[in-house]
Symmetry: D3
């Protein structure tokens, strides 16, 4: 990996980012055709935090956060830093000072596959973070990686300028070119769910609301009364 | 696995369930002779949540929550859904809509070895959940499993109608036929602990309160003053 | 392992412990030359809890907490129990009663590589705990280990009397003989950071504040405009 | 758990065990309706080893193998020891001496969720073992568990006298009462596969051999030529 | 994910694939600028197996291998099947029959993030496989995924037609368009290493052969004699 | 961590190392009082490999193997390199060239908590390795760590000059000062086991050979005939 910084990549247009704001990560994921999740291992530092912004991608060597410092200079208002490493590393790449700096430069938050530290101070700053770990272990600043090249997290490729939606459920990435389309699909999905929610809250059954009874019949689902002596199933526990 | 729904299995009697209510999962586990835990990987979504109800068991294929929808129709007031899969899967099997439906049908809560999503909304609903993961990734509704057959989680078999006790410490299952006996044993245990707690809070030593000094002697426990140069032990970290 | 209790090991002097109080675990870790962390797997039971005290070390067999009871008798005011096992075990070694007893005897808190239980009650007691797991599964009291011998957690050796600093970020151990020196180094580090924090909060760049631009040049970091078609990097997700 | 040894449980009849011999664990698992696997974490110590015998179940406390010694006395010719613990423990429960003893008493092999040690010697003995780990760490002999009570491994309950089939793919348990039926279903499955194997080896397609094309049509599977620019899917890596 | 099969994607030219054959996965990874690894969790089923071929990518739902059957029809001579799932699943997606079919259709091997089964038979077939797990648990054939769309494994995106190099060390992917260039770089790297290997085998030091002594000086590496009493470092164990 | 190389630390005397040679890692571990294991995660690259030598310790930053090159210069005939990192890293720190160099300088083998690569070549070299992973991902050579300071692996502290015993079961460290004593204890243990092995091979029971029946009585172990309907125990699977 040669050390490289891509300057000023195109971001998703402001109004398309705004059109996505307010939808949950799960809704957007569905609207994307069940794609775009960064995986269930990225957890929010602050329960209840929410975020919609444009990706500024950072690829670091393990144990070295020099490239995060390089990336801070590239922040534009509304960006979210998306940090990963060339091999798995859960050390504390970002602490209070870097978080202070990111916020001062206009970043909305941080998504990282590394660990972070100074978590009490970062919570006090109200700078939202999604991360893999909390770790006291710091990093060196000796080797440079890449800023604003595509990175891959949880099977999803994040390109600079893509839209990041994060909440209590995790993090989703919407490709820049699809932001408007996905915002519209999210809106439609939310609308549909409003009616369903009401029907279910009143005691309606999903089997009826979603029309699943013919499927059960085709699958040969059998109903019978209780009888003793059946062994357990499972293995997914 | 042929798709099967057992209708109306016998539940533990209401008054026996009530007799167990109020005891902690740890107390009941001890009263059961140190059995019945569903393992330390099931964690509460809402700190402080507590639950005592009758098990409605659900066994799903990986990545498919059709059987959860089937199970909702089988809920009776006071049930707890206990969901697992035929092979490990942490996808988001239950979201806001299913949780809304479960509560509307009378379920007290959900225990699942899968992931869940829409966690902010589920917290707002105050519908208590114990789960293995939070995951944005949804499931399909194509293949059916089994409702109200015994399932196995964390080395414990849960049969439909068994009593589920869940709190911050995790989840315990009391076999239906032993509910009354275990409630009584839990009551006795709690009673005994009241005295012990007072003695210890006043500075009494467990060594004396529990009468363990003869055991220490038999084991040959040696007391000596400090001296330098001993190497460390461990390996459990 | 022969069962052994070392009585009255030398503790770090009270005033040196006090000199360390108030510094975060991450700061102390840096002041120690990036050493002393007990690893990122020890997590606080109570967010926001903080602790500075002297180590009382406990080494138990797996599944057996007899030695913790033995250790309680050795507590002196200001001690922190540091518990580990001879092979990994996440069972619930400490519950409400033991926590009550530890506090009544003057302990400031508990650090353990095992699980704990009665977590709601322990939270209510405001007795701070750092642990690996929460587990309903209890232990027996049949086999004895060692009290106040050095133990090893997360690659760090903790000797009795060392200073333990724990907060939301994790746990750090300062060797007894270095407490004064590390307190002073922590103070200097905190002082330096105050200025840096202000500069960064006002929008200054770490690249300038830390003088890293010459390093970037030496490393050959290249800046260029965006162009399409680059593949993703990563693998650390 | 009160210490208990069940003496002389009924084993699956010799001829039914023999009827199952020779079928692979995967075939038997399918013939059981995709049930009975002890999970993918039990791995063979000796590649190529195969085993069909009756289960002698052993439940131990963590870090204590006393109950394995107790179980050896209960071995009958053709038994397989199935060992697990009340909470997870990967210590070395069985070494060369115990393996020597098991073989001398007529056991065909060992299946254990613990670790084992003296692996070079056990390989030299040609005593087949399936286990979770190899570990130098030994155990104590202080606390007793249970012999010949049902145990649960990987979501499957193994009762004493059930038939254990193990090979390179893992371990499967056939309930005693179903041995004859499952042997016959395995035979039929093997027979069917012979024809399929030949068809596929000659270049036939599963889509045709299994008649899956109508399903593809119903699912709306679309075929098209290559075009550039599609993003990656995944997340299962 | 809509079910889709891309037919006849462009493969890396035969002669460029041949130019890469014979280089180890580690060498090619270095020649690619330390990119392209599919991660350390994909392990070879058969020690010593080696493979160089063109990727045929397959994306399946969890617990469902229908799409693998669909993919077999798309195999061209020299292809390697690269299989992953939309969420993590280690079930046995491929057994003896599918492996027989893949080989009969001209595939050189299989790389999969899932589990496989019938491993003894697959070893006997000498059909090379790299996988995440061995699992008796089979899959259903109910839901379709995608064939020959890009997939992401271990942070690396694999597009159909890319070159896959696999050996005992793991699996590397070379983008189709860079095959020739990377083959040449691999050749040069191998050549350089021949001289280095000889120097080192004769007792030369890497410090001299690679000219690292000035770097040590710049880093301030200090040499001194032994003295007692230093504490241990680590945490990476 | 300041970069430091300790030159010429005292090694365990040659004849004491020789006195330990031939004993298995498990035997030595027992002779040490069940201490000294480096944990069950270090696995041999070459089944059947055995090793007894003196530790040359190496502590590296994550992702950087410069310090391993530095350590090679410090090898003396009969040394074993013991490599770990300041935070967990499974990258490929050692490949064919470094292994060639280590052997040429007189090292007997390598024990590392990192990954290795070029495994086929290293097997061909017959240079024995115990490691945590195999990984294609290489490291940089930018930052220096420490050579011949104590390191901690799996809860055991290894000081330079200690004796390392490694075989199929794993790795054990004998403190330099205890080598002679432990060799003698190992010899006695082996001797005792010879008689026991014979008794057990002839069908004797451990219960009698070890005299455990009084213990069973004291523990209240109950024997009874089989009866139906008992639930399973477990949770250790």
């Amino acid at each position: 990996m040669r050390p490289l910084v891509v300057v000023g990549p195109e971001r998703a247009p402001r109004q398309e980012v705004e059109a996505l704001r307010g939808f949950s990560a799960a809704t957007v994921h569905e609207a994307l055709g069940r794609q775009g999740s960064l995986g269930r291992r990225l957890r929010p530092l602050q329960p209840g935090a929410r975020l919609t912004g444009t990706a500024l991608t950072v690829l670091c060597p393990p144990g070295d956060n020099l490239t995060v410092h390089v990336a801070v200079e590239q922040i534009r208002e509304g960006d979210v830093l998306v940090v990963t490493t060339t091999s798995p590393c859960r050390d504390g790449y970002v602490g209070e000072l870097l978080a202070t700096s990111m916020r001062a430069r206009g970043a909305l938050g941080l998504v990282t596959t590394t660990g972070i530290r100074d978590t009490a101070a970062i919570r006090a700053l109200r700078f939202p973070v999604w991360c893999r770990a909390v770790s006291i272990t710091g990093t060196v600043k000796e080797t440079a990686g890449a800023v604003n090249l595509p990175v891959s997290i949880g099977g999803t490729v994040i390109s600079p300028g893509d839209v990041i939606i994060a909440d209590d459920d995790g993090v989703v990435c919407v490709p820049r070119a699809r932001a408007a389309e996905v915002a519209e699909a999210s809106r439609q999905r939310d609308e549909r769910e409003t009616g369903t929610r009401r029907a279910l809250a009143e005691g309606g059954l999903g089997l009826d609301v979603y029309g699943m009874r013919p499927l059960l019949e085709r699958l040969g689902v059998t109903y019978r009364g209780a009888s003793p002596g059946e062994g357990p199933g499972g293995g997914g526990g």
